[in-house]
Every structure is written in C-alpha cells, then in structure tokens.
C-alpha cells in the first residue's frame, strides 16, 4: 500500500466514480460535482493568463489601446447574465461565429474539398485503387439528398451505405481498443501506485 497522500486521494476519488457502474449513488454525485468545480476553476486560471499576456500587458505596457475592443467584447459576453443587458452578448457572439465560420470554411475548401478530390484521382489499375475511387463515389452519392430518384442512383448509394458500414465497423473495432486503454490506465494507477500489485 502506498503511503503517499496524493495517491490515496486519487484512489478514493477513482473508486467513488467507479461506484456508478454498480448503481448511481451519493458518493458518485459528490465527486461528479467536485470534478465540475475543479474543471471550471482550472479554466478560469488558464483564461486569466491568456488575458494578461494577450491583452493586459500589451495595453498597459506597450500602449496598444486598440486591444481594448476585444476586451470590451469579452466583457460584453457576460451581459447574458443581466436581463436588461442580454442583447450586448450578441455582439461578441457574432464576431466569434463570423470569424469561426470563415476560418473553418476557407480551410475546408482547400484542404478537405480540393486536396481530397485531387488525391482520389488515381489510376484504376489495382483492386485497391478501384475500391478507393469507386467506394468514395458511392459514399458521396449516398449523401445526395435532392436529386430525382432513379434506379442507378439508388443502387450506387446502397453500395455506398455498405461501405459506410464497413467504415463504421472499423471505427467500432478501434473504439474498443481505445476505451479498453483508458480502463487499463485506471487499473495501472489503482493497482500499481496505490496497492503495489503491479510491478
């Protein structure tokens, strides 16, 4: 058994969380609330250092007064908590939504649309390439929604659905490994660091 306080704290918290697997209970609810609180507190600490380095210091030390604009917008976000000021939070939100949508859009056109199409232009000389090219086309046609129904389209999109199922199967198989990894990690901590069972 470990004699370290930290190890004991983490082991007991883990057990309280795992008790949920048996039944929802008060210990689980307690650690769940604690976790929410710690996470939010952590977020504040990190956000604070961002604000200091990116806004406070440049404004006070370098005189970059125009940075007051994003600071004011940041403060306006909190308007949503006051009924009469609720409308103010729409301005920073609009900025976040507008820039965010544009930044995702421009990258998506080049890297996800053009580059991916280019990479799919392959010589149809091997079974593998044939599967990639035809498969991609079939899956794309599964996501045509408004074209008039015809036999060719519906049979191509059925094949697309089959390919999607194989894709999902692969992700499922992978997912199993990922989730097992996480529980192994917990067991390694519990039985390695707390009870010294794993060497």
């Amino acid at each position: 058994m470990s004699t370290d306080v930290g190890v004991w704290v983490s082991a007991l918290l883990t057990i309280a969380a795992y008790s949920f697997l048996w039944k929802e209970n008060r210990f689980f609810r307690a650690v769940e609330h604690l976790f929410v609180g710690l996470g939010a507190g952590y977020g504040i600490a990190m956000g604070y250092s961002n604000i200091v380095s990116k806004a406070w210091n440049p404004i006070t030390k370098e005189g970059k007064l125009y940075l007051l604009i994003p600071v004011i917008m940041g403060v306006m976000l909190f308007g949503r908590f006051v009924k009469s000021l609720r409308w103010t939070s729409r301005f920073p939100l609009a900025f976040i939504v507008g820039t965010g949508a544009a930044i995702a859009l421009r990258g998506a056109v080049e890297q996800q649309f053009v580059k991916q199409i280019q990479a799919t232009m392959m010589p149809l000389t091997s079974v593998g390439n044939l599967i990639i090219v035809v498969g991609t086309l079939c899956v794309m046609s599964y996501f045509f929604f408004t074209f008039p129904k015809n036999k060719a389209l519906s049979s191509v999109s059925t094949v697309g659905r089959w390919i999607l199922m194989v894709t999902f199967g692969a992700a499922f198989g992978n997912g199993v490994m990922g989730r097992i990894s996480l529980s192994i990690g917990v067991l390694q901590t519990l039985f390695g660091e707390w009870i010294h069972l794993i060497k």
Partner: protein, 282 residues
C-alpha cells in the same frame, strides 16, 4: 442449449467484474505476447529521423487527463526520440488541461536530460479559441503567444529567435482527442510537415489524410504508443498494457459470439430474441 441461452442474457454487473478481472491479471502477471511494429509507426519514426540537430518542432498537447492512457506513451516516446535527435521543442496547447500535461512531459524528459529551458525547449502554454487560435498561432506564433507558460516574454527565449511563422519550424506534431481536420485546414496551407497522434476512435477517419499525403505520419492510440516504445527500444507502460489489451479484446469478441449464438437459437425456435437493435417486431 440452456447454457447458451443463459450466456445470451448475463447481467451487466457480472460483465463489468469480468472485464476488470481480465484486464488486471495480465498487468500483474504479463504474458509477453509479441508486438509487431506497423508501417505507420515506422513512417513516423523515419519522418523524425529526417530531422537534424538544431531543428525546431512544434508539439501540440491537445488532450485532457482522461486520455493520458491513450496518448501519453506516444507523447513520451516521440519526445524522447526528439531528444535523441537533438531537436528543439516548442510546446503549445489548445486545450486548457493540455498545458499541465505538456509541462510535465517536457520537464521530465528534456529537463531530466539536463537540457536548458528556453534554449533547447520551451512551453508557450495554453491558447484559448480553438481553430481560430490555431490559425493565429501558425501564422505568427510569437504574436499569438507573447508570453510562455511561466509568464516570460516569449521573444526573449533564444529558441524562439527568428520564429516568424509556421514555416520556420521543421515539423508540427500533435497529440489529440478531438481534432479531425483542424490542423490540416490551418497548417496545411503553409506546407509544414504534419504528424498526428490520435486516440484510437479517431484513427480510421485520418486514413484519408495519410493517403493524400496531408499527414506525413500517424500514430493511433495506445497501440501506436506501444509500437513506438518498441521501435525506440524502451518498452514502457503502453507495451506492458498490450497483454491486457489482448485479453480485453478476446472478452469482447467472446461475448459478441455468445450474444449472437443465443440470438440465432432463439430465432430458430421462434422465441422473441433478446437484445439486438432493429429487432423490435410487433
């Protein structure tokens, strides 16, 4: 026959106990099944081998403590490899919790080897704003991060000298629980070689970027970490966990078989099968 039907309806708590037990036994008493190294992991290794001493790379730790089991082995091994190559590392995070993980990893590996902070490695901390922040960072890292994790002006760090955009580093390596195409969208246009380490569930969706060459290398989950430990000849926690992985997978497959066997028997004898989506007959 009755036994098979019973096997199709085991209480979930028994399953949970079984799984805990099956995972624990090989951790306590390893079986030592061989782990082969995949082509993907070799590609990542070769890609890092191409770097020369003095080159700089960005390391992005985009994961929370919940996924340490999946990604820490990858992060540790790659960092060790970079250390061996004498490459300089600049860490950055776009998830708040990643900042502490990056801090621990670099101090343990680079600091532990006697490398100098600010000279051989540095940690620029957490940057809020998701993809918008990633875009800002790759275009002008020092403008995006005027201070490092400890509050030192980043332009005063020797390692950041002459760092005006993403083209000034030789690779971008990220470990993530959540990105799908974000870095490819933001760093791809600059032509920085990108290497990704992702949690296992995200693996399949990245294939499209590997084949197109937008990703220069891909490590997937704990297995990827274990393979990298093997290739580096420093087996660690991930390699040790692979036996448990094997038994865990067998348990999954075994119970999927049990479930299917009892499903088909019930169907054959005209009973309403237990379980199975889309089988709700009226």
């Amino acid at each position: 026959m009755k036994a098979l039907l019973w096997l199709g309806n085991v209480d979930r708590r028994i399953l949970y106990l079984l799984m805990g037990f099956v995972l624990l036994v090989p951790l306590v008493k390893p079986m030592g099944l061989p782990i082969s190294v995949s082509e993907y992991t070799e590609n990542v290794y070769n890609e890092i081998e191409k770097l020369s001493p003095g080159d700089r790379v960005f390391l992005d730790f985009n994961y929370t403590p919940g996924s340490i089991a999946e990604l820490q082995a990858q992060a540790d091994s790659i960092t060790k490899h970079l250390l061996r190559k004498g490459v300089k590392v600049i860490a950055i995070c776009f998830s708040p919790e990643g900042a502490m993980i990056a801090d621990d990893t670099l101090n343990r590996i680079y600091g532990g080897a006697g490398k100098v902070y600010g000279e051989d490695y540095c940690h620029l901390g957490y940057l809020a704003g998701g993809e918008t922040a990633q875009g800002a960072f790759i275009r002008d890292p020092l403008k995006a991060c005027p201070q490092d994790f400890y509050g030192t002006p980043s332009s005063s760090l020797p390692i950041c000298k002459g760092l005006s955009n993403g083209k000034d580093v030789q690779a971008l390596i990220y470990f993530t629980t959540g990105y799908t195409a974000e870095w490819i969208r933001q760093a791809g246009p600059l032509g920085v070689p990108i290497i990704a380490g992702v949690i296992t569930v995200l693996g399949p969706a990245q294939e499209a970027f590997v084949q197109s060459g937008q990703l220069k290398g891909l490590l997937v989950g704990m297995r990827g970490g274990a393979e990298y430990e093997i290739i580096m000849d420093e087996p660690g926690s991930a390699a040790a966990a692979m036996d448990a992985q094997s038994l865990g997978h067998l348990l999954f497959i075994l119970f999927i078989i049990f479930g299917n066997a009892s499903y088909f028997i019930q169907k054959k004898y005209g009973k309403k099968p237990v379980g199975g989506g889309r089988s709700h007959e009226y």
